[in-house]
């Protein structure tokens, strides 16, 4: 079966957004983690995962997000998750994902939470 996740990278370092569209399943490992590696290699200090185009995300897909949480913690990057539909927002909150990757409705709201430059 073919991976049905499309990714698009937006923004410039230090804040970069990975826009996700389609189905985030276990098949999306290379798409998602490859996009994360790309933004990291380009110098992203803050990574925003934008989920508003994600139509289906079982726990196999959520496990890939947890792998990004692990990697952002190791590299001291910030990670935000935005645009989740209410159903997945509830699941993320129930699992405790929001303790590691704050949830926002929009990219603008996520970026507004960043501390102002000194």
């Amino acid at each position: 079966m073919r991976d049905l996740l499309e990714t698009r990278i937006l923004g410039e370092p230090p804040v970069m957004t990975i826009e996700l569209r389609g189905q985030l399943t276990v098949l999306a490992e290379e798409s998602l983690l490859g996009a994360y590696r790309d933004v990291t290699s380009r110098g992203a200090q803050t990574v925003v995962l934008e989920f508003s185009g994600v139509d289906f995300m079982p726990t196999g897909g959520i496990a890939l997000v947890i792998r990004i949480i692990q990697q952002t913690r190791a590299t001291k990057q910030r990670l935000f998750c935005v645009g989740l539909i209410l159903h997945y927002r509830k699941i993320f909150a129930m699992m405790g994902m929001d303790q590691y990757a704050p949830l926002f409705d929009t990219v603008a709201e996520a970026l507004a939470s960043l501390p102002s430059p000194a």
């Binding site: 399943t25 079982p58 913690r73 159903h87 699992m95 405790g96 590691y100």
Partner: protein, 168 residues
């Protein structure tokens, strides 16, 4: 197995399908249940619950039941009833479900992030949280997960109302 278990649905139309034990098909099955549930008049949030629960059940059947062996099939039966949709997911595993499958607590997010947990357990927990009824049956020739989702959720059971899980 389907015909023996579908006794609940006397007079109802049953939709059966068999899929290869290959990741990706769980998403196709989730798309199908959305179409069936829409025609039955389910609310969008209940359809989301159903898609997630069914996706997890099919994933478990593909991965744990049939070991991703493409020669083995996962059978799915949809049985529309007057006030509910009954869904059966069957694998070909001769090994019965663990007896505590329906009671297991999911791993904490802290253990998952720390890499101290293999990450098993959330799928079954989500199924239990999202459907109105769930039962597990081992036949010796395969394991069956039976789920029932009502048009109007069972408020007392809390189904469809994802509960917070203590992750401290």
């Amino acid at each position: 197995v389907v015909s023996r278990l579908a006794f609940h649905a006397s007079g109802a139309t049953t939709i059966d399908l068999g899929i290869p034990s290959e990741f990706g098909w769980e998403a196709a099955v989730a798309d199908l249940v959305r179409s069936i549930a829409r025609r039955m008049g389910f609310a969008p949030d209940r359809i989301d619950d159903m898609r997630t629960a069914l996706g997890e059940a099919v994933t478990n059947a593909i991965e744990h039941g049939n070991g991703q062996d493409r020669s083995k099939r996962v059978q799915v039966a949809f049985i529309p009833e007057e006030t509910s949709l009954r869904i059966l997911v069957m694998d070909e595993s001769p090994i019965p479900f663990p007896p505590d499958l329906g009671e297991r607590k999911p791993p904490s997010i802290h253990d998952l992030v720390a890499g101290q947990s293999p990450g098993r357990g959330w799928g079954t927990y989500l199924i239990r949280a999202l459907v109105d009824e769930i039962s597990f049956l081992s036949t010796g020739r395969g394991n069956v997960v039976q789920m029932v989702v009502r048009l109007r959720p069972d408020v007392e059971s809390g189904a469809g109302q994802l509960r917070d899980w203590p992750n401290e």
